[in-house]
Assembly symmetry: D2
Homo-oligomer: 241 residues x 4
């Protein structure tokens, strides 16, 4: 398709009250070269819904090298359960070695998660996104203040460039955490074991922690940083909104 003529903002308005399946169906109809970005957490529902619509859906995950053992086991379980081709992207060895030699393995607790996420997540993601026309994410409005205005589909200005426009679909944007978990339980969707251990939002091991009952899931991520700056870089565009 020629993305030039694709007015995604207009489609976003049409789909703003539609469910995940409708949005995914629309995405697959309009793009061939697109993939689901799977974080190893409750966004597994995206794979479950997408697989029913398009059995050939492509999925990729970012292996930062610091995920929980439980998350690695879960990625493998999802790969087998859905018989999905799961591409797992790794950070560049040279970048990582320089960074860690200079700053050690936990610099993010001192000067923020940006640099580490930049090397372990964003660079491999950018490399992957350059090969795609659109990607599908599990972002939801209820996840954090920085995501309160997430649209169901949008131009991804963060990863587009003058020669390449990238689109982003967020089929779960309007779903609440409650809806996601109702779906998971109703459909026997496999889940990350950490979700039975008090974890809600899950990312790298050193940057994720359990939350108390009724505490917002975002309290379990980068808890030493400002609430309104907690965006993982995959969706850094949200911060400028």
């Amino acid at each position: 398709m020629t993305s030039k003529l694709f007015d995604i903002e207009a489609h976003a308005r049409d789909f703003q009250n539609k469910g995940p399946a409708d949005i995914l169906r629309f995405a697959f109809r309009n793009f061939d070269n697109l993939a689901v970005s799977f974080s190893g957490a409750e966004d597994v529902v995206l794979i479950d819904i997408a697989k029913r619509i398009n059995p050939d859906v492509k999925v990729f995950s970012l292996d930062t090298g610091r995920l929980h053992s439980e998350t690695y086991r879960f990625l493998e379980r999802v790969r087998e359960h859905y018989n999905v081709e799961l591409e797992i992207l790794s950070p560049d060895a040279a970048q990582l070695e320089t960074f860690v030699r200079e700053k050690g393995l936990y610099s993010f607790y001192k000067d923020g998660h940006k640099e580490c996420c930049g090397i372990r997540k964003i660079a491999p993601l950018r490399r992957k996104l350059q090969t795609l026309d659109a990607w599908i994410t599990g972002q939801r409005k209820d996840q954090s203040p920085t995501r309160a205005n997430v649209s169901v589909m949008e131009t991804d200005f963060g990863f587009s460039n003058p020669r390449h426009t990238l689109y982003k679909f967020n089929p779960l944007a309007n779903w609440t955490s409650k809806q996601v978990w109702s779906y998971i339980q109703a459909n026997d969707v496999p889940h990350n074991e950490l979700h039975s251990q008090g974890y809600i939002s899950i990312s790298c091991e050193p940057c994720t922690r359990q939350v108390l009952p009724n505490q917002h899931e975002r309290a379990g991520r980068w808890w030493w940083e400002e609430e309104t700056l907690k965006e993982c870089g995959l969706h850094a565009g949200n911060l400028e909104n």
Copy 2:
């Protein structure tokens, strides 16, 4: 006081929209011989509020002999933090030995939690309640379907007898789990470590489990039994309502 003339149902109507502190103040004004029943979970807020009103408040807990190690540590921490006289009640050795010799240590998974709770919780509780005129519990309407009609104060018909009327105060009846946890965090109230590990409702170790995000807390208790029969016997009266 002469409990004969005490129309608790009328008072319950007056207090039905009052907060925990008002209810506790009323309880302490009308009864000398009363105590808080503390389960070792989030009902610690009762102790926190009661202590501010009545520094001499008495508290008791039921040590079934099967609590989590974390719960024992928490009971001790509460004892020290609030400098409260904490009475910890134990089951009768002879009853326990007969029961366990016949049925082993996990019979509840086969024939229900009633018999075990009866020996480990209810009998010691009954023994204690016979010495009191009123008790204070942490029951809340939002905890389970069996508690949806819990009043802020009531006659405890389950533990009263012709010669002794027992009253029960439930100061948190109208509070939601969210309110309890907001209070805990706002007031730096100590909490059971298990609450940071995915547990919400906490009782004996073999009868308690972690719940998934957004799952109701009662799913973590006696999960092999019917939802509408899940009452722990301390408040068995709720089942007949």
Copy 3:
């Protein structure tokens, strides 16, 4: 049998180099009214060996009310695996309540484990031993300096009284930890899960900890007390030897 004429010290000399099976066979031949004391740890080998010799062997354990959840599960597993009548003894409620009201749940860290063991272990044990002519324990010489001289069989002066002589058999006295574990693995004997988690010697949860590789097992028990006084009271006689 008439214990009066039973010269156990002479028999001990005869059996001092015999294996556990020989010692157990001798015990069963000479006493009807005897039972194995099972701690919920690696002394399960006693049950395994005894069951082959005497399928009706009686076993009892002391449930202090503070055992690890893993130990309770193990007790039950042993009960089922060996189809053994397992008597589980509990402490006296009144004694326990008085002790805990005064001193809390962790007084042993401050003034030693004697008082707590006295109520939770020794008193129920004494009650049980008064009904027996002999008991069988898993004591080994290599377990601690206090056990270096343990005999394979002996008069239990600690629990005998003028009207009642009690004998004690220690069939594993000469076995090393290595031998015990070789037996467990070679014979697929069930073991306490804690043994796969860095625990060697196992007792109550607050008084047991994991040890480092090559650290002596006794370092995992009452680590805040003097090495030569670490005897649990079941075998307090060892201290006077």
Copy 4:
């Protein structure tokens, strides 16, 4: 120095009964361009001893991307405790992505650990070793049957090539696990938390498990493979001996 004239086998004979400090002193005297290979386990004693002799000792570790969270924390703690320049080597992203896309994240359980170790450990190690004249490892004879003949120093034929001879020092070759742990405790050497949880030999998370009391440490590594083939590739030369 000119390695050509260095008869390490002769020196090995001279040093075969010497302690780690003597061997390290000899290594530092003869080589400038050498480094300690630190696995994140009890070979931390090498760093402790080496630091006293040569404060500028260089250390490197292989971050396979699948280490335990505890091991990452330990690497950082060692870096800070000894103020050592710790180089942490990462696998090549492209190799890893191809491998994982084809075989998933746990192929080693099916077809052996060689391929995964090859990409995650051996390739980064080979890259590093090409820049060194000698390396220092924590290998011990008592670790496994494959290491029973490890010399205190040797030519590393596995990583040498016609243009570059590499030497390998194994200062702990003659020490037992017991000696290593006595040293750690006597000198307050920091240790990996996993060592307090039943782990002895520690490597990647999916290929490491806890062992039972008295079980050989090698039972905790690649337990699904033949004992005599359990060599991690860093020291594959041992297999041909």
